[in-house]
Subunit: 183 residues, 2 copies
């Protein structure tokens, strides 16, 4: 159970039951019948490129405090994927970007997240660590701290990016990242 | 407000307030401090292809009862994007598919939804209307009921698919669908 009380009537009688016509149990209020749906969350972010370099953020928050990541975070109500990626990049790296293309879509079913990452150009060099970052820095490929990356989705996207750069063509891709690979 | 009571402690004192370090107001319980985040939902689905034909479903549920759609629905906890697309295709069209590629990502910010649609091959012709469909049918391009499609995301994806088919190359794409275009 993710809830203890009904958000609509305040009743504490929450049951796990199959709604009519549904194919799986939901958390349902036994008093008012309200169904509390829970759905996967979208994490949006960017690969901010400046020439041959990529902008990474050192995390100032848990999980993975002190590890490096691409600017990314939970998509918010009322925004588009691209707006979310720009907002997160501004919040975490103080950086303005221009979106080039949707690049990576990763499903992380065990934690019910979907990552959507955009390739983007950094508009200028006026970046600055936001409150969720200890440090923000440009990295050449040989400088990427592979063993100090925060999440497997980030290393997947960066590996793919550098491989595509050699080929000179950036193909949107999707894949599934399961527990064995989730750090 | 989307909630009237705290799902964790049952208190009716729900306030809209800015949590420390956050950039927007959230629904917060004034008694226990629990923050009730709300995030966009992902709609996953497929474009099921059989030779030159596409499989569409006639909706047996609101909204857009009686209109035609691609098999798609809300992504569930614990599944991948591709698993969700296959599940929805099986539920709504009774059809088994093989995923070919991620094809379309649409943001609908006004209703806080993200559509993710896959190109897929229909495995066989044993499709059958599920409980959410009145009818399931294969359409050639010239037979598509353009004026009777349920959602703009569906018509966008189909238009793009037929244009790409002429070119012989299917490129994943993303775009934003705003109110003026949302039917």
């Amino acid at each position: 159970m993710t809830i203890k009380f009904c958000s609509q009537c305040g009743s504490g009688k929450i049951e796990s039951a199959l709604p009519p016509g549904d194919d799986r149990a939901r958390e349902i209020c036994a008093d008012c019948g309200y169904i509390h749906y829970v759905n996967p969350k979208v994490v949006v972010g960017s690969i901010p490129v400046w020439g041959e370099q990529i902008l990474l953020c050192k995390r100032a928050i848990e999980p993975r405090y002190g590890k490096w990541t691409l600017p990314a975070g939970f998509m918010e109500e009322g925004e588009t994927l691209a707006e979310g990626a720009k907002r997160e990049t501004l919040e975490e790296a103080g950086a303005r970007i221009s979106i080039e293309q949707l690049y990576a879509s990763y499903s992380l079913p065990e934690i019910s997240q979907v990552y959507v990452l955009f390739l983007a150009r950094l508009d200028d060099l006026n970046y600055l660590a936001g409150s969720e970052s200890l440090e923000v820095k440009l990295f050449h490929e040989h400088e990427i701290p592979w063993d100090e990356l925060a999440f497997v989705a980030i290393s997947e996207a960066l590996k793919r990016y550098f491989a595509d750069r050699v080929k000179g063509s950036y193909t949107p891709h999707f894949s599934d990242l399961r527990r064995a690979k989730i750090r």
